[in-house]
């Protein structure tokens, strides 16, 4: 709560996602593509293959334009974006890793000069020297990946740093090597993907041998990727890995990645056999799209594994340092943040303050009405007390949310504001809907997330009714029942039926 939160239309999450994915897709190519160029230049030299050299020269022009301009600037763009959206975490990362970034910058300096010299001096140097320049480029580019990878991996798995605060533990954290392996393979595969497209769209005739080579550049790393991904998942801390079962769409996302990667392999095999530009053109575009999708979804998965943190175990996504949570919950946001207009909630300022608090505590993942996970429609569907109780218990609900970083009055102000931001619509009174509104945020009947069927098995409807009436006395994590009696009746009738029908509940 040390920083103002920038309010972005439709939520800030999409902004980071767009900038980061575009950058990753180009910057990984910038590394693999460099290796591709020098290796093939060597082959052209050995076989005295002028045509290949000519193509490489053209390819390197495209490479330069894409990586030096778009790749480099979107990299700066990510940095601008995270600074705006997550200043607290960015500031902390920079304080820990400024020398990491400084070292990456040195590599970047060399990388840029090397690629410029490499491109401009194609026909003006001996092949050996020219290739040495190319190797310098690739070495520097990969080294900068090896540095930045440490910082990215740290966010997911800070490991021993949480205790010892040593830079070495922070950098060589549990997922460092496994994610470096994954990223390196991605670099290589992308080099092949871009090369195929570049071959397919060149004005000269198609060179089947080059197509084959490029197809192998795609297929070989893609073949190794599952093993690397498995290693990576093994190194992800157990706590973060629970997301895979808790977040309902993550398994689908992971499956989509696997399917796209397998398809890529198959299509690479098809490309290997293609002799015609008219096949290779749509094929290479399709493969680029698939590669993009696989990359975007796996980055998304990685981000979700990290939730609700920006630096796991250290800083929450809503800019609350874990170390300050207790203080914030005791004193409240209003008393500790300069970025609000009042020091306490009053009936008069409740709505305005509620808006400010929502922005500070929730707007990183939620919008009010439109965009990413809008909250007003959900809040207006229940009474204000229940809504406030939900806001206070964000860490108990689905969605891997950070704990609410304020007081009960502040949670109520948020609920109040949100409920005033949507038109109330009559809510259906059937049991299933009541469950979705009043239990659904924290339970499923027999799903993966905190299922009820097992503990409710064998209960009569009247017993259930008693239980629901006294939820808050069962444990303090549950809000008291504040619905109507009619809702309770419908809920219990429906729940009893569901529990009976579910495999766990139905068995005697």
């Amino acid at each position: 709560m040390n920083y103002p939160v920038w309010q972005v239309a439709f939520g800030s999450g999409w902004l980071i996602a767009v900038v980061a994915t575009l950058h990753v897709f180009v910057s990984h190519f910038a590394i693999g593509g460099g290796l591709f160029l020098v290796l093939l230049e060597g082959s052209a030299h050995r076989h005295d293959d002028e045509a290949l050299r000519a193509w490489l020269k053209r390819h390197s022009r495209f490479f330069l334009l894409l990586t030096l301009v778009f790749g480099a600037l979107t990299g700066v763009g990510i940095w601008f974006t995270i600074g705006l959206i997550s200043p607290e975490a960015t500031g902390r990362l920079i304080r820990i890793f400024v020398w990491g970034w400084a070292i990456e910058w040195v590599f970047f300096l060399v990388e840029i000069l090397a690629i410029l010299v490499y491109y401009y001096a194609w026909d003006r140097m001996e092949t050996l020297t020219h290739r040495a320049v190319g190797w310098t480029y690739f070495g520097a580019a990969w080294a900068s990946l090896a540095v930045i990878n440490g910082i990215l991996a740290f966010q997911l798995s800070p490991g021993a740093w949480l205790q010892d605060r040593s830079l070495l533990s922070a950098f060589f954290n549990p997922t460092y090597f496994s994610s470096l392996a994954v990223r390196t393979l991605v670099c290589l595969a992308l080099a092949g993907l871009y090369a195929l497209a570049s071959l397919a769209f060149t004005r000269n005739g198609l060179r089947p041998d080059l197509v084959k080579k490029s197809a192998v550049w795609v297929a070989a790393p893609v073949l190794l990727l599952p093993a690397a991904a498995w290693w990576y998942l093994r190194t992800v801390p157990a706590l973060q890995k629970t997301a895979l079962t808790e977040v309902f769409y993550l398994p689908h996302l992971a499956r989509t990645v696997m399917v796209s990667v397998s398809l890529l392999f198959l299509l690479a095999a098809v490309a290997w056999f293609s002799r015609s530009k008219w096949i290779l053109r749509p094929l290479s575009v399709l493969m680029l799209l698939l590669g993009f999708a696989a990359l975007a979804f796996s980055e998304w998965t990685r981000e979700d594994l990290r939730m609700p943190f920006l630096i796991a175990g250290d800083t929450y996504i809503n800019q609350v340092p874990v170390a300050r949570l207790a203080e914030l919950r005791a004193k409240g946001i209003l008393a500790t943040s300069p970025w609000v207009s009042a020091a306490a909630v009053t009936p008069q300022n409740q709505r305005r303050v509620g808006e400010e608090l929502f922005r500070l505590a929730c707007s990183h993942c939620h919008t009010v009405r439109k965009g990413l996970i809008p909250l007003a429609p959900k809040m207006v569907a229940v009474d204000e007390t229940f809504a406030a109780n939900l806001a206070l218990r964000t860490d108990q609900m689905r969605g891997r949310m950070p704990p609410f970083p304020g007081t009960a009055e502040e949670a109520r102000a948020i609920a109040h504001y949100l409920r005033l931001s949507a038109m109330p619509v009559p809510q259906p009174g059937d049991g299933a809907s009541v469950f979705r509104r009043r239990c659904g945020p924290c339970h499923t009947v027999s799903g993966a997330f905190r299922p009820l069927a097992k503990s409710l098995k064998g209960m009569a409807e009247s017993e259930l009714s008693d239980l629901v009436q006294n939820l808050d006395s069962m444990n303090d994590k549950m809000p008291p029942w504040t619905g109507t009696n009619a809702e309770r009746g419908a809920l219990c009738a429906w729940l009893a039926g569901q529990v009976k029908a579910s495999p766990v509940g139905g068995a005697p």
Partner: protein, 389 residues
């Protein structure tokens, strides 16, 4: 009331002087490169409009160089921003949030400008009448970037206004156009950029002397004249800027702060020295030498300006944020590694530059020496060598 920028419990991993030193060094290079791209696009626009072959030749020289200079403008811009975030993190991030959409728009704007530069550089022959339009577009886009940064960094010095601005519009659609020093600041930078670009054109002229004395000589004179004219105007605007500052801040450069006063004095002196050298160079028999000392003096000026900027900022921020109060726990191991790699990296850069020089050798005509005299001196009445831009 709660402090605007609560101290962060995490220490900063290097002594303040080291971070500042690195920030200044890299920022100096950034400013020099930036001036070439910003001023260069404007100067080339003027040349293209004038349209004589020698004008176009000079503009082409700038166009060829723009993309690579841009690459280094960006690289040397990233580094000081990094160190700045360590030193002034909370103040900087907060101010950035206040201008967020404008700040973020810098990225697409730069990408566009950069591609236009490549277009100019690689498709010069096919562009014809589109050249001035493209130069104007590049200049406008880069101007936007400079304008936004000027807004951001003047805002940084004024934390008093952060909270009301934020609460008025959390979507960050603020610029700092109410700031009275903004206009002189922008104009000062603009004329400074034209001056540096003039110098750049003159340097390219020197390089052309052996192969094409006519063009080289003309380019030298034209570039140097632009340099001198723009420098004089920039100095006058600088005086305006100085007097637009609130008295207590102006006082910093007139005795209030040792570093500020020194930087001011040396900066002005170095600017005058650069002016005189480049001016004398026009009719000197050693123009190259005169020009390079001019460049050296100019670099000193820019360094001084940058220090003044720093003094100003620290003074304005003193009630809110003092770098001296930062908790410091240097990561000496990492610092050493950085320095080693930095030296190694510079080694690689020198190697690459040497390769590049060898790949693009200057035409092998007799070295300039006193021969330059012949090319540079006006050939007496009737010659066209004496004409300015």
């Amino acid at each position: 009331m709660t402090p605007l920028f609560p101290a962060d419990p995490l220490p900063i991993p290097a002594p303040v002087w080291l971070l500042k030193g690195l920030a200044w060094t890299t920022l100096l290079l950034h400013f020099l490169f930036m001036n070439v791209v910003l001023g260069g696009s404007l100067l080339s626009l003027v040349y293209c409009v004038k349209g004589k072959p020698r004008h176009l030749e000079a503009a082409l020289g700038v166009a060829r160089a723009l993309p690579s200079v841009m690459a280094y403008t960006i690289t040397f811009g990233v580094a000081p921003l990094l160190f700045l975030q360590v030193l002034y993190g909370p103040v900087f991030y907060t101010a950035a949030v206040l201008v967020a959409p404008f700040f973020l728009a810098i990225i697409p704007v730069l990408i566009l400008a950069y591609y236009l530069m490549y277009l100019l550089s690689w498709r010069w022959d096919k562009l014809g009448g589109a050249r001035p339009v493209l130069f104007a577009a590049v200049f406008a886009l880069l101007g936007y970037v400079g304008f936004t940064y000027a807004n951001l960094f003047t805002l940084v010095c004024d934390p008093e206004r952060f909270k009301p601005l934020y609460l008025a519009a959390p979507s960050g659609a603020h610029l700092n156009t109410a700031e009275v020093t903004l206009l002189p600041r922008l104009l000062h930078v603009l004329f400074g950029a034209v001056a540096v670009a003039g110098l750049f054109v003159a340097l390219q002229g020197i390089r052309k002397l052996p192969r094409d004395p006519e063009q080289g000589r003309w380019q030298y004179r034209s570039g140097a004249t632009w340099f001198c004219g723009a420098t004089v105007i920039a100095m006058l605007v600088g005086v305006w800027w100085l007097f637009a500052l609130p008295p207590e801040q102006r006082g910093l450069f007139l005795g209030g702060s040792l570093l500020g006063t020194l930087a001011f004095g040396v900066g002005v002196a170095a600017a005058l020295a650069a002016l005189v050298h480049v001016w004398l160079g026009i009719n000197s028999n050693r123009p190259g030498w005169m020009l390079w000392t001019g460049v050296g003096a100019l670099a000193v000026t820019v360094l001084c300006m940058l220090l003044m900027r720093d003094v100003l900022r620290d003074a304005a921020l003193a009630p809110y944020w003092r770098t001296a109060d930062l908790k410091v726990e240097p990561q000496w191991g990492a610092i050493l590694l950085f320095l080693l790699l930095f030296v190694g990296g510079l080694g690689f850069c020198f190697w690459l530059l040497r390769l590049a020089r060898r790949a693009f050798p200057p035409p092998d005509l007799p070295p300039l020496g006193s021969g330059g005299y012949r090319f540079i001196l006006p050939k007496g009445p009737g010659s066209d060598g004496a004409k300015g831009p």
